[in-house]
Amino acid sequence: MMIKKKLTLLSVFFKKNESSILTIMFLSIVADIFFPGASNDIRIFSITTIYIASIWFYKIKSRATFIFALFILAIMFILLLFTSTSANTEKAAVWLFFLIAIGIFQQMRER
């Protein structure tokens, strides 16, 4: 009973802070791209898992994913312009790949 109650409280907390949590998550993707060094699977898959969980929890539409993918594409453009095919550009490309994949999957389910 206690656990259920705690889960409900947690759920309420997450729902109340939806915009903050999603912002943190999006920022963490951006931070990962700009973080120095090569890409890291633990970071990528952790954030991706959280993002997929958020889609389910917050009922995020594919539209949001594709808008975010456009934003990442813009980052990739800037990085390519200034750093050519640096590690950061490649991380942006990997995120773009993942977001398109997630978006396509979402849109298939939304139909």
Binding site: G37, A38, S39, N40, D41, I42, I44, F45, S62, R63, F66, I67, A69, L70, L73, M76, F77, L80, L81, S84, T85, T89, E90, A92, A93, V94, L96, F97, I100, A101, G103, I104, Q107, M108, E110, R111
Partner: protein, 1252 residues
Amino acid sequence: MKISKLNLLPLLIAIILFLIPFLWLRPGEMDLGGDGNRLYFYDPVSYLQLHTPYNIIPTGIGGDSISYYALPLVSLFAVLGYIVSIIHLFLGPATLLIGMVNGMKLSIAFISCYFIVKELFTYEYKLGKSIVKGITEISAIFAGLFYIFSPILINSGWDKAILSHIQIFLNPLMFLLLLRYFTTHKTLYLLGLLLVTFIFSLNFSYAAAPAFFAFYPLSFLFLFLYTKFIRKIRIPIKGLIVGGVVALLLNAFHIFPHVFNILSFGGDVSSSVFSDQTKFSRGLDYFTGIAPSVKASVGLLNLAQLRDIVLISLGFFIFPATILLSFLFNKKNKTRLLTGAFFLIVTFFATASITDIGFNFYKTLFYIPGFKMFRNFFAQWSFAQVFFYTLLFGQALGIVLHHTKKIYRILLLSFILTILSITAWPLMIGNFTNSINWLSKEISIVIQMDPQYEEALRFVREYPEDAKILSFPLTGPSYHVVAGKNGGAYVGPPMFSYIAGKNDFAGYESLFPFNEIFVNAAKKDNFLLIQKLLSILNIKYIFYNSDPYIYGENFLGFPYDYVKAFLPETQEGYKSFIEKFPINKAVSFGEKYHFYKISENIFLPHIFTATDTLYTNDPLNFQFVHQFSNEPRLAVFDTDDVLPQDGKGLFVETNNTNPLSHLLKNEHLHRHEPYISSKLGDIYYYLSVYKEKIHLWRLRNNFEEYPNFSFFYLSKRIFEISKWKDEMLILRKEWKEPKPWEFYAWYTYNSWEAIFARYEKSASDLIIWVNNSPSSNDWKKAVFIKLKEQFYQHHLLVITNIKGYREKKIGDRDYLFSYANKTFRNLIENLDVHIDDPSSISYTLPIPDDQLSDYDPYLEDAQNQLLEPFIDLEGKRLSPLKEQAKDGMIEFDTVRINEQKQYALQLHITQENIINKVQWMSSGQVKEERETSELEVYHLVGNNNAKITQDTGIVQKITNWKPKTQYLITFDYLTQGDDFIFSLYDRAYKFGLKNSLGANLMLQRLLNSNTWKNHQAIVTSAPDTEYGVIQFSGNSEKENSEIYIKNLSVVEIVYPKIYFKKVSKDQKAPTNPPKIIFKKINPTKYHIQVFGAKEQYTLVFLEKFNKNWKLQNPEKNTENMRGNLARLYGTISKYIVSLFIKNSGNEDKIVASHLNGDVKESNHNNIFLEPNTSETWGKDAIAEDRHFYVNGYANGWNIEPLDMDGKENYTLILEMTTQKQFYLFLPISLLTAIILFIVFVVNIFKKHEKNL
């Protein structure tokens, strides 16, 4: 698909695209070179007659290689070429053919993509409104343009394009036909599709397997899902099955021979598919080597990999942006979602850079047999990637245009058109086909054929002997370089081989397995050996292209680079070089093309009977030891295959067991340069520590890879220091490896102590592993020498890094210096691998089974340079019979070998120091006292070790430093506690940095001692070296430091060969082999008439050994079911063929006589098909169990009188029996194609009638 007004624009574009390539080349110009030559454009008829229908490699020593997969297309070229030559179009046949193929690539690809996108888009968007129709048209047209002008396809090798490059249009065309068949079930599409698979059979063959498997499985899956779940149409399963069977029959002529080849275990093709070695060395290793250069960002933008990102490339963001916008505008389009999913799949395969897990998954795929074909993955998947990108982009553009205002549409389309036009411009104006030969001085690849070279081609085609050619100037990859009339040059496989029908040794690679022997002999002007080589390679003519345009400034590197170190560097040099050959006649065509005929007494015909046979364990090299047989008609057998029945002619070569012989190519100097990405302080670094351990554990039984990867990981520790030194901690206490659960201590990996401790542990593990391995002691010692060299390299690197370390606390650097020095000095001193005295050389004597006897030892001493030699055979001293070598060979006391075992022996010789007098060149002070040099080195603090100048160190030039020679350098030194660097340079070493004396660094060691110490180093000098340089330079913090050197010596290490000749009581009786007349029917078949075969003899065929070359007795039937069936098939085919073709009517005429008339050549033919083609079907092969390797590469048969039922005069047919598979399956394919064509035409007529 009816042509409507709306279709007119794309059709017009397609026609323009078809015509544009005709403007790329001027009349008579051709682009023929490259790895896979394009000579079928220049002379398709000769190419078809002489090369395409035979499973024989036409260059060098031959070999089997299936080439007939291009038969329909080359036949088509031949027909078209013939028609064009009749109607005399102004461009010339070859130029027209090239233009036509290029035009097809552009136009068919464009129009196919157009129709596919239109079809996909139309289904989702109803075409009610004209605006939608217009948008659909525009999107489909833009998709077509996007495909053909994609940077990936533009950079896909339009110059020197191999035949499979036609996949540019074949992929979309096949997809379109399949799509139409899946959605309409109309047989016409299936028939068309099947005919395409036949005409372009090459793209459905083993040769094009990567392209096929990258595109077709995914396309089929896409079409299946699209038809079943989006269009909700029944899949035409029956039609597909029938189509599959027909496709198999159509392509049976190449698929089945290839399948048999793959399943014939032990063959070349089979081993390339299944063997672990090729799976990893040519597959996974190559993949992991190039993968880091392939970028996901580049792939997502549809740009070409491994090219610079130019400003215009940034405009390609419009394509992914359009796709993303389409997903925002429309959620209902299922086709686009499906296309998007497939696009992501191909992008994953084409980039291999989607996360580390993805990359590791990709690597595991290489364990699947055959997957190594994707080692060059980005190129092989690129065509599929561009195709699915096109489908996705075409649909996305339609959606975006549909949802945007007119002004935005115009802007978007204008931008896309601008980007594509700028990208496509170089292709459209023909820049890609008019490119420059690689590494040349701006020499175009486009040529207009020189008429004088055409005359030379005719000469080769017509010379009567079945003999080979050696071409000069020799190239590395066995290419011919021929200047065209227009200033361009052909650089590609030798034309003599492909369109003149004679095997040509045009370069180093085609001289295999004698390539190293040849270039070394040429370097040393050893024409005795070269003569022997010309004989055993069946070389009758030397072709020399004296054109300075093709050898000299225009081609300084490729394709001559490696061989130039051995052969003359100028055309003038070549002229005098060729004059030294045993030639007696010259024919010239113009000023540039010369043929020299080899003297008849040197020449060995393609097929001959041997007059002498020898047996040895190293036939490849032994045949050049002229001292044991002067017979030119010599057959040298391998004792692993066969032993002499009477014991005569047996020679056992001793095996060299000196550890230093494993390092003849400076293997110990190899520098691993691992890429470091993980930070030592990261939490997951711990995982990579275990990954290394697991990797080594998996390699524990791999004697080559375990030491290599151990060295690699040792280097990794040092490179980690180089990269992270300023972030590394100094613990100032002993480091212990944290246990898995001690995660709180994982951070300590990021410390100097951890690096040194792990380095020591890895080194110690390797030492234990080597000691426990069951390998030979000499191999173990070689590994230890390599390891010690790694210690020396790494010690110096670490010290250099510590010098550049940013000190956090005072004394940190001193502490690190002391720690590093202690670690490495311990490692070096504990690894006790003293290099043996080079005056004592170890061997083993592998006596073959049942060959115990007396043996006469012979020591090879070609230069007469071995001083005071004697042999110690397990305690028994064998002395030379004469002090001086006779004819390069020293004979020793006879010795009795009476025990079946591997004997150990040692050769003792006296070796001299090549430095007669030590004369230091330096700015420092040199005092000579009692053979000790006291060298004072000035102001060397923080010197740059890479450069030697007169101010940095003390230098000794070694002038009598021979090329390609292994040396032992030893000296004693005392540095009084100061650091010094000992460096060794070679004038022509390829890898090290160059110093101011013009020599390149080979090795460097850090010296430091308070007492006299001895130092040893071994190196092999470069092939084209002139001198070596020894240098000592200071490396201490002091301004002046002193080093004492004594006993400096540089000694050549030699491994002279020792042969043990079995003593036979009787002299060899002179043999009287039968006389023969042979006639070439085609490259896979010879008729041999034998006269006077009274006793056993050896028949030699100077072509690469292949067990499928069989001698057949045409008069004896094979009495079994298979033989009966084969004869039945043979009889039927003979009857059918005789209805159309008669047997060759030309009478046998002797065209050449060799070896005093013992071997004659009848007039050779090149008949692919005649009634007699099947004459050997169901006939007995003879001496199959006595078919052996001879002379290290060729075929030899020991033929007994009983093999031919005691007959003395008879005919044998020598045939490459795998060619029969082609004769078996070709009629099936042809028949199917004819029937299919008739059905196709009938279908078209029926449809036409219906429409009427």
